[in-house]
Symmetry: C2
Subunit: 344 residues, 2 copies
DNA sequence: TTGAAAGCGCTAACAA
DNA sequence: TTGTTAGCGCTTTCAA
């Protein structure tokens, strides 16, 4: 019986298989397979013939057949909310470096900050029987948690810290970031401190950052209700608009913590254009310490977060566990660092 | 015979299979398969039992088995030089949106601008029998070209324009960008015009851009040898250093075309810090029109390139061909646009 | 050093 | 409406 037509989505490539190579090389079926896997156990002349045929025909081993036998594929899904944020891209890049070096391929999944999508994505991706999984964030739907537990595969949650990680965990505490930034600004003498950002209610990490931030303000008897947020994706320009809105509504505001450096930079540029002095009139601090923060004039204060390193470490830990090696620490707090520059 | 142990890389998840589900649901083998594929052809009660078992066991269909039957997988490798460049990330994001919507998964490949790596990557990725392929650039090694021709699968080369594309092609002419920028600067009255960037000899697109740029200068009897380049990855700070080097070596230089906006911004910031007037003392123009270009004070002139749209279009064309639909235009020139702002 | 046979999980055809 | 059979491409074991 030929391949069922209904599954043949399209007139495809001439699927070269081992028998094809064998025919071409004038050798037996198994000889080809063996030449490819254990070249040593095949006569020199035979091997040369086989390799020649492989090359001529452009034979590429079919991962499906292998995967079906082994029950697992050298792929690692990386699930992030969006590619439209340099932080996740840096993570991805770091992880890719390490995974590629170990022969793993990345399957990309972007959830758009939607838990439903995350759930579907994970289910679909699990169908590839990946050896491991890299998952952004530590707050997932119950269904997702259950699925992941059932799958029982090596996995690393990253970008945030979990009390009870599903598998391994690499990140830092966003709540602590909020606290640290608030304390920093208070120490510097600011008293009317605002937060500006996006996804202030959707993204668990933002929520935690804001919670730590506001709690600290409250503990210091300072107003903590100055918040500007937007449902549109963050951008440099949005930062400017958010700052303008904030100052308009509450002229007393003297410092603003932005959800990331792009928005902080936009706020700074807006001030530059409108002649608002930074930090004299209003202080600005960003988040993530992207390169732009250290480059502007004046340079923007920020919070350094180790995202590339996080990617490398998460991948390294995952690889170790996939290979069955012991992993010393299953939960790593990478910390963060406040970078005090010219805008605070 | 059990699964061969040597292929079992590790103690893995308890691979739930259709027979497992069938046993749990107390129904036959095929009934489960059918419930999943054609729910209509199964009795209501049976179906409920099956779905219940599927849920309880956390069954996920094994893509390998399907792939083995159909000979192709709903995955699309996207091969780019690096994730460390916003342009490729935007493309990736655009492509991912479209591909995800059509049920395709992205397999990520980063070549690091290395043709050898590109070749290996493509070979490995072809083993997944992807239905299609997205490939950055149009300049590939002969071996790569041959492999791709043999594979005979739908593919789109993007980011640049090819005379003779391997498959489909979406991009714009980097040579023309170079010409246009040179003409623009000449028209504005600049006479000592430099290029600054990275990968000036490695990346075919840079090479073409510079060629068009220098040819135009030459045609206008202007010096065309002012070039500053670096082998390190581009960055905002590098832009500053490159500009400083250029002005030091050739004080006559009155305009610089940067290989991207990050470097242009770095150059601008450097000028701001050192009190060099832009554009009076030196004009600056970037490339790609990233958001930063329009946001700085003064705003940076640049060349707008349609990278997200390119990703969406490339993916759309690919999907069409993968589904066997006709594709009107197999080679699309998306063009570019010079954005004249305050730095030129 | 090479060949033969079995089976990984699933689905399409056919039969009941 | 459900069960049976065969086979996708490959690797492993066992036999020659």
């Amino acid at each position: 019986m030929a391949t069922p037509r209904s599954l043949r989505h399209h007139a495809a490539n001439p699927r070269v298989t081992i028998p094809d190579v064998a025919a071409r090389a004038g050798v037996g079926w198994m000889t080809v397979s063996r030449t490819l896997r254990q070249p040593g156990s095949v006569a020199e002349a035979t091997r040369r013939k086989v390799l020649k045929a492989v090359k001529e025909l452009g034979y590429v081993p079919n991962h499906f057949a292998r995967g079906l036998l082994s029950g697992a594929a050298p792929v690692v899904p990386v699930i992030i909310p969006t590619l439209d944020h340099p932080v996740y891209v840096s993570f991805l890049d770091g992880a890719n470096q390490v995974l590629a070096r170990h022969g793993y391929q990345i399957l990309l999944g972007a959830t758009g900050y939607d838990r439903g999508v995350e759930e579907q994505l994970i289910t679909a991706l699990l169908g590839w029987r990946p050896e491991g999984l890299l998952l952004a964030g530590v707050d997932h739907s119950p269904a997702t948690r259950k699925r992941l537990k059932q799958a029982r595969l090596p996995l690393v949650e990253f970008m945030d810290l979990a009390e009870k990680p599903l598998g391994m965990n690499v990140g830092f505490s966003h709540f602590d970031v909020g606290k640290a930034v608030a304390n920093h600004l208070i120490q510097k003498g600011y008293r009317h401190i605002a937060y500006a950002g996006t996804l202030t209610e959707t993204d668990a990490k933002s929520v935690k950052r804001i919670a730590g931030f506001q709690q600290t303000l409250r503990e210091n008897k300072l107003p903590c209700k100055y918040v500007a947020s937007s449902t549109e994706p963050f951008s440099i320009h949005l930062g400017g608009r958010l700052l303008e809105k904030l100052l308009e509504r509450n002229p007393k505001i003297d410092a603003v913590f932005f959800g990331n450096d792009d928005m902080a930079a936009g706020a700074l540029f807006s001030c530059l254009r409108r002649g608002i002095r930074v930090p004299e009139r209003v202080a600005i601090i960003g988040f993530n310490d992207q390169e732009i923060a250290g480059a502007t004039v004046p340079a923007i204060s920020s919070v350094a977060t180790p995202r590339r390193k996080m990617g490398e470490l998460a991948a390294t830990m995952l690889v170790a566990q996939m290979k069955g090696e012991p992993v010393a620490q299953r939960r790593v707090d990478l910390g963060f660092q406040i970078i005090d520059r010219e805008t605070t």
